[in-house]
Symmetry: C2
Subunit: 387 residues, 2 copies
């Protein structure tokens, strides 16, 4: 439970930090690419390293159903199994139990559900989820929580939060203090400020080594999503890492960093890549668009990924339109690299106190949360000339 | 048309050579990974280089239909377009015209067909196919040919060969002598020895800088396929490169090398990889098989690919069974690497005169042309202890 987190610099509420784990350090704010079943879709572990990732995410729900915790444990744990040598965070799978599993039955002690793969009966309890993550040998473990959808009444959100709070207590008690990994408490409370505040207070009383903001990006819209971050982040202990789960666009990340969030994960860069939507320093490219058929320029001329250093927009347009497997592969490598470079820019902005300027420039090119249809705007200036 | 080909060593009919092109040298016997539409399915150009490839194949039929020769030429040629910096060979697309296109009409001067993509009318002539490959800037160009299926009567095969021979003459005349690339003449003649002999004689009279053996692996079975190689290869000029088109299993390659073939291409390593069929130095692994679920060993412990150096059979089993994109990607990188390493072993065997021993060892572990269902046999000994 000894999670060392050094804050190296601040700029208003924003923090530039460093997290220490048994598998290496993490410079924060950090983006954690999502390797749900043990690999980022389309990327090798070596490519993920080369892109600059320091932490990888995986998902306990998916790994429990296939190949099973026993198998991974026998194979030497999740690092040996995945071949990813840096820190690994597993999501507890609460979100997937509620979005994917069938016939789930909640009770105060846990949840029983049928696997979406083969219909077999599975039970998750706060204690079993903690135990499974310990057996995997993860660096960052998450408590089991209930992640309610939006909209939801305040009364129902309160009932849900009470369950999540009880589960957090059970998980905290089950977690062995002197193990190598750190357990994150997850703040729920939906779109209700008072519930979020109560959630933070309950978790703080349990003294977790790190905290996550959960239950966002479940249908509530940008304004409320940002409000939840603005309400919650400042209430969390200043000396502990803060992780915003499942977000988001570059603008979402910049907003959350500005309000003191340190860790992020999101499937967006990889999923968008597979659909031919590329993130660049000049905004989003929808590479299937006919105007890229003849475009000899790299996707992003300031990107150092394997695609941008060697190939053109025209090639990627061609490969993705032709349904060639290498198209999504190259696009994913690029988008993940973009996100990781973007976080490096944010870290620099925190150090230099230039987050506000960067936010304005980013807003100019990422209109509408990362999906401008208009010709590309001027590039945002980099925080400083050289990196 | 100046294709320099040095023969460095021989062992019976087998040759160890070196081909010189404007984009680098090729150590032969060489395997050329297939990047039909400009990329090997699932691999980046950098990964292909790291795997040890020296030549990449692409296909004129597919590139003509999409994105079009004009587009690639405007983008600076096929090397700039694909990002592959080594030599590139394009197949003329004759095979695809006869296997994929609709409503084709043959005439003495060429073939008119409808695109399998959009039904548009396209015409290929021996001259247009040569011209297109010149505009792409390929290092190795192929003449337009007709590739008849098996079985076929000798009379029909003869008629087909007459057309291919006429087209070869037209192509040879159209090829500009002093350009940077080399035009290969293609030996057809189906499974008839006399026709193969006549085909060789006609092509030799045209003095091509290199020769290909086409029309194999079209349904004729292993015995006849090998017979065609044994009849044809020794008839070709000893000082020119010989390319066996579209083959095959490791045993096919070893057989052909033993009979003096220098160049190969095949979709087998990449296609098998996507289906979870892995080539190894101990035979074939069908990685989806339940016995690999818990197997902590690398796919091939003597392989240096990204998968084998870091991950287990159990991980690949899991990723491919789960339908994860990274599964086919890792398997493809491995299989292509296996083929390229295998060719390096063959080159060494030619130098050392140990092809026969290697053939016996390979036969022991690759029963039935690369698809043993039985437990893995003993590994073939390497040609020498260290590489």
């Amino acid at each position: 439970m000894n999670l060392r987190f050094d804050i190296l610099a601040t700029s208003g509420p924003a923090r530039r930090g460093r997290l220490f784990t048994a598998h290496g350090t993490v410079e924060t704010p950090a983006f954690m690419p999502v390797g749900t079943r043990g690999a980022v879709k389309g990327m090798t572990a070596q490519e993920l390293e080369a892109a600059g990732a320091s932490v990888m995410l995986a998902n306990l729900y998916h790994l429990t159903l296939r190949p099973g915790i026993d198998v991974i444990e026998r194979l030497g744990g999740i690092h040996r199994f995945t071949g990813w040598r840096g820190p690994i965070l597993t999501d507890s799978g609460g979100y997937q139990v509620f979005s994917l599993a069938r016939l789930r039955r909640l009770d105060p002690d846990g949840v029983t559900f049928r696997s979406h793969l083969d219909g077999s009966l599975v039970r998750f309890t706060p204690e079993s989820v903690v135990e499974a993550q310990r057996r995997l040998g993860v660096d960052f473990a998450m408590t089991l929580d209930e992640c309610p959808p939006w909209p939801i009444s305040e009364a129902d959100a309160e009932t849900s939060l009470e369950l999540t709070t009880r589960w957090a207590e059970l998980a905290r008690r089950a977690w062995i203090e002197d193990g190598p990994g750190a357990l994150f408490g997850i703040v729920q409370g939906s779109g209700y400020r008072d519930l979020r505040r109560r959630a933070v207070a309950s978790l703080r009383a349990l003294d977790f080594p790190a905290y996550a903001i959960g239950g966002v990006s479940v249908g509530e819209g940008t304004e409320m999503r940002r409000a939840v971050v603005e309400w919650t982040a400042p209430e969390l202990p200043a000396d502990k890492p803060r992780y915003l789960m499942g977000l988001g666009t570059p603008l979402d990340l910049l907003h959350a960093v500005s309000h003191g969030v340190d860790l992020f994960d999101c499937v967006l860069p990889a999923r968008n890549a597979r659909h031919g939507v590329l993130f660049t320093r000049r905004g989003v490219l929808r590479i299937k668009n006919a105007r890229f058929r003849d475009d000899p320029r790299p996707v992003d001329e300031r990107c150092s990924c394997p695609l941008c250093t060697r190939q053109s927009r025209a090639l990627l347009h061609h490969l993705i339109r032709a349904g060639e497997l290498t198209g999504p592969v190259l696009a994913t490598i690029h988008n993940v690299r973009y996100y990781l470079d973007f976080m490096a820019d944010l870290r620099e902005c925190v150090e230099l106190g230039t987050l506000t300027d960067f936010a304005q420039e980013l807003t100019d090119c990422y209109a509408d949360g990362g999906s401008p249809a208009t010709p590309l705007a001027a590039p945002p200036r980099r925080p400083r000339a050289a990196r």
